[in-house]
Each structure stands twice: as C-alpha cells, then as structure tokens.
C-alpha cells in the first residue's frame, strides 16, 4: 500500500517538474518570437536574413528590443514571485508586494521628482526606489507602534495607512503639476511602460533583482512552513520573525528596483500566483518557480501587445490591469466545484 502511494507522489512531483520545464521552454520561445516581432521593416516578424545585412535592424533588435523584453520578463518574474511570497508570508491570498506602502511610495517618489525637481530620468528612478523602500520602512515602524491585533494584521493596517498617505501626496502633486509639461509625464509613469528601457537601465536593476529572486528560490520549501502561522513554524524549527523579514526584503527590493524603471504595473503580483497555484498546487517548491515563469510570460505578452497592437504605445500598466482583471474574473466565474478525487 505505502509503496504504491509513494510511487504515486513521486510521479506527481515528476509531472510537475516536466510542466515547469515546459513552461520555461514556452517562455524562451515567446521571447524569441517577441524579439523578432515589430513594425520594422514592416509590421510582423523581421525576416532572419535581414539581420545579416541591415545594420539598423541589428541595432533595433539587440539594442532596443532585447533589453526591453528581458526587462519585461524580469519584471514579470519579480512581480509574480514576490506576490506569491507575500501571499504565503501573510497567509492571505489577497496581498501583493505593493501593499506595504511600496507601490504608492514609488509613485510618490516619482511624482515628487517629476513635479518639483524637473523630472530627469535617473533622479525619477532613484527617488521612486527610495520612496518605495521608505514606504516599507514606514509601514514596519508604524506596525511596531500599533497596539492592535497580531503581527500580520498590524503590518497590513500600517501598509494601508501608509499607502493612503502616499496616494494623497500623489494627488496633491498632480494638482500642483504643470498640466502641459509635467502632468503628461507623471500620468505616463503612473500607467507604467517599458518604452524607455535601455541595456544601461536593465543593468542598473540587476544587483538588487537577481540576488533577491535567487534567495526567494532557495527558500521556496521553507515558505510552506512560514505560511502555517508563527507558532507552528516555530515548532517546526523555523525562526519565523527573522526568516519573514529576510524574505520580505528579498521580495520588496527587486520590486522597488523594477517599478522605478517601469512605472506602475499592477495586478501581476495578485493574479499570477493564483494561476500558478491553480496549475501546480500550493506546494511552494513548484508554485513559486511556476509563478515566476508565468509572471514573465504574462508581462512579456502584455508588453508585446503594448508596442505592437497600435502604431503608438499603449501603457503597459493598462494592459496588465485589463487582462489581469479579466483572467481573475474568468477564474472566479468558471472555478471548478470544490470536490476532487
């Protein structure tokens, strides 16, 4: 009996590994197709021989499209992975990395520089990243001062309050902004987009992003323990307080870095982890890498649509929100009844 069942669970793990591999290959394929797709020389895929003879095509594909699509994949992997991690750490399927004041902090930081300091690209990035982290810092400081509820509830409440303060600040800055020069720039940043991505910008976020994602992947099985609540995790030999903070930082730092170059791109951190768990089960050893792969896939496709659908650029954040919300609704409406064999 046990031998048979054990073989069964090994078979399930093997199947999930194969689907993960398949997802990875699908992502690579999508990346290659995206690299070739565009409006030069004509709308559609660039013919391969052209890359041998046309200097402009080479510069377009490797100088502009490649860093952009790599950033899209990295952004999706970070938002999907960080969203999954936050949902486990807070034992709540409705949170995402932006909610500890991080997203609104970044928005405020960008708006501040655009409206009050002229809005050169690099200062906007730096200010967005700094205020994203300040949002996290304020939320956690505030959570320590609150005299209500447990650790998780206090952090959530503090995050809501800090986000509200920052978004009030963004509203004020919008009101103050010069409607002809600053407001369009601010609005564009708040809607998110990868049009301005260069190799240099991509490289500037890697030192925070790659170590963070790697750490999350290394801790993926332990995420399961942390999702059971503090006392239980402790009884299983974990150090819930320390491990939680480590993983929160490992999720928030890459998120802040990427938001600072992409602007606000919503819904990915919320919807992608749901789909990953639907396909791979709750066990984080599989669902976390799956969420990263699916996130990369989702943002890459949205960004392709953003640059290909119309002659002009559609804001990426608009598309992720549109498709994210549609998929979310579809999942809720067509959810399988909760009886399984």
């Amino acid at each position: 009996m046990t031998a048979v069942s054990a073989a069964h669970s090994a078979e399930r793990d093997r199947r999930r590994r194969i689907i993960l591999l398949f997802s990875f290959l699908a992502l690579v394929l999508a990346a290659v197709v995206s690299l070739l797709a565009g409006r030069y020389p004509a709308p559609g895929l660039i013919p391969l021989p052209r890359l041998a003879e046309d200097d402009l095509a080479v510069r377009l594909v490797f100088g502009l499209r490649l860093p952009r699509l790599l950033t899209a994949i990295l952004l999706g992997m970070t938002l999907g992975g960080a969203g999954m991690v936050f949902q486990y750490l807070f034992n709540n399927p409705l949170v995402e990395p932006g909610f500890l004041g991080v997203s609104q902090g970044a928005a405020f930081g960008a708006a501040f520089v655009i409206v009050l300091m002229g809005g050169a690209t690099v200062p906007v990035q730096i200010s967005a990243a700094v205020f994203a982290l300040a949002g996290l810092g304020f939320s956690s400081l505030l959570a320590r001062r609150l005299r209500y509820g447990g650790w998780v509830l206090r952090l959530v409440l503090a995050g809501i309050a800090v986000s509200a303060l920052f978004s009030a600040g963004v509203g004020l800055l919008k009101y103050l902004a010069d409607p002809l020069r600053q407001l369009p720039e601010l609005t564009f940043w708040l809607l998110g987009g990868l049009a301005g991505i260069t190799w240099e910008r991509l490289f500037s976020v890697l030192p925070l992003t790659l170590p963070g994602l790697l750490l999350l992947l290394l801790f993926r099985w332990r995420l399961n323990l942390l999702s059971l609540g503090e006392a239980t995790a402790f009884s299983l030999g974990a150090a819930p307080g320390r491990e939680r903070w480590l993983l929160i930082l490992a999720a928030v730092l890459p998120t802040a870095a990427l938001i600072s170059i992409s602007g606000m791109v919503g819904w990915v951190g919320l919807i992608v982890p749901h789909i990953a768990r639907r396909l791979f089960g709750a066990e984080a050893r599989f669902s976390l890498p799956a969420s990263m792969l699916l996130g990369g896939f989702f943002v890459l496709l949205c960004d392709d649509l953003a640059r290909l659908l119309l002659a002009g650029e559609i804001p990426l954040g608009v598309l992720t929100a549109l498709f994210g919300a549609l998929i979310f609704l579809a999942l809720m409406i067509f959810q399988k009844p909760k009886v399984r064999k």
């Binding site: 046990t2 332990r222 399961n224 999702s227 609540g229 006392a231 239980t232 402790f234 030999g237 709750a282």
Partner: protein, 257 residues
C-alpha cells in the same frame, strides 16, 4: 531516579508588564507519561504549553528539557524533540494532506534542504498509522475537523518528538474520532513519547491521563497522579461548581449539575 523530561522551576510569566498570568509554576514531566493540564478558561493552560514549546519566554524561573535549559537548544534540535498539535490552525492554500504532513520533517533537514524520498516514506507510514492514507491527495481546506486533527497528529509524529504538546486535541471531535485519537495517543505513550495536553473534557482526562496539572486562578498549580488530584473536591473548587465522581461499569465518570 532519572532526569525528568521537562521541568518547570518557579516559572513566572505574563503578557503585559505587571500582570502575571503564571506565578511560581513548578512541576516535572516524567518520560512516557501523559499529563493533562486541567483548569478553568483563561487560567493560562495554553500559555503554559507555549512556554514548554519555547515560543514564549518566561519572565523568571527555569524551564529544563532533559536537564538542560530549553532556550539553550538550537532551533532544529528543539524541533526534533518537541512537537505541537495546536488547537486551531488554518491555511487558505490548497496543500494536499501529504504535503502538509511532510512539513513535519523540517527540523530533520539540513538548512534550505528539501525532503528526501526517505522523509516521504516516513510520512506515508505516519499517514497509515493515523488512517489518512486514502486522503493523502485531498486538499487540506476540505478536511473535516476530525480528519484535520488526525493530520496535525501525523505531522507531529513525523517530527519524531520526545515531548508532544497538544492543545485541546479532542475539541470538535465526534465520539468515533475521539476514541481513535485516544488510541493513537496511547500508542505514542507506549512508544516512549511524553505527552502534555490541555483538556476540558473530564472523560478524556480520566480515560487517558496518568498525571494531572491542576491550575487554579491565583494559586500555584498542583501536579500529581490522576487518582490523587482529579477528585470531586478539587474539581468542584477549581470550577466553582458542585461536581461528583461516579463509577459506572468500573470506569470513573464526572457528573455535574
């Protein structure tokens, strides 16, 4: 006499400064016995369990595990010696029963390690022991409370603890599941595991416990064998309710009102 598995020596504890809940608590747990913590709501029974787990830290006094200070143990060493079956634990995520129980192997793994086929085999044996083999692939949120309790016990079993802490293990269980759980706890005792549980049900305490830790508001708790402490007189006093102990078919029962 051998070293007690767990000792409390003059332990004081409270959640807020100036408001002690436990005052001068001293007792020993002997290896291979079942001790029931009995007392009214709010007297600090669960608090005492969490102190024994090391999750809460005493204000003063010593808590010793096998003669050594409990807080001197490493996290993993402690996790291999003490397991907890909490009263309520919920997850919104669709873990399967198998994946959930597998988490009990965590203290046996190297840092950042993942479970091996050996660990999985240990989990299958535990599932068979508690009778959940058929539900191994079932999502945890769909279990009944009885099945959930058995699953939490299986997770504790794969930790291979020497001390098992249980918080109201029979709450919400029907008679069949209650009897099954009691059998399993007796088997663990026979295997040399020491059990410390809180329990509000006198019939469970009478059927299972060897020793009793009697907790009373404002008094230091008394520890001793079941027969000495679980008497009509003591129970009437701590619950402030007239209680009678009667014997039916050779088994003691508690009658109240």
């Amino acid at each position: 006499m051998s070293t007690p598995l767990l000792s409390f020596r003059d332990v004081n504890f409270g959640y807020r400064r100036g408001q002690p809940i436990l005052h001068r608590v001293s007792f020993d747990l002997l290896t291979g016995r079942i001790t029931a913590i009995v007392g009214p709501n709010g007297v600090g029974k669960t608090t005492l369990l969490y102190l024994a787990l090391g999750w809460l830290t005493a204000w003063s006094g010593d808590i010793l595990l096998e003669g050594q200070p409990l807080n001197g143990y490493g996290r993993l060493e402690r996790g291999r010696r003490i397991a907890l079956v909490p009263q309520s634990e919920s997850t919104p995520f669709d873990y399967t029963v198998f994946e959930y129980v597998l988490m009990g192997r965590a203290p046996h793994l190297p840092p950042l390690g993942t479970p091996s086929p050996d660990d999985q085999e240990i989990v299958w044996q535990a599932l068979e022991k508690v009778g959940l083999t058929a539900l191994a692939a079932q999502p945890v949120p769909q279990l009944s409370s009885g099945e959930r309790q058995l699953m939490l016990l299986a997770r504790a079993i794969v930790q291979t603890p020497r001390l098992l802490l249980l918080d109201e293990p029979t709450a919400h269980l029907d008679l069949h599941n209650k009897a099954r759980l009691l059998d399993l706890l007796r088997q663990l005792r026979a295997d040399g595991v020491t059990l410390l549980m809180t329990n509000h049900e006198p019939d469970v305490v009478l059927a299972l416990a060897d020793d009793v830790l009697l907790m009373e508001t404002g008094q230091p708790p008394q520890a001793g064998p079941l027969g000495q402490l679980f008497t009509a007189e003591h129970l009437s006093r701590i619950y402030r309710l007239p209680v009678r102990l009667v014997e039916i078919d050779g088994r003691k029962q508690v009658l109240w009102t």
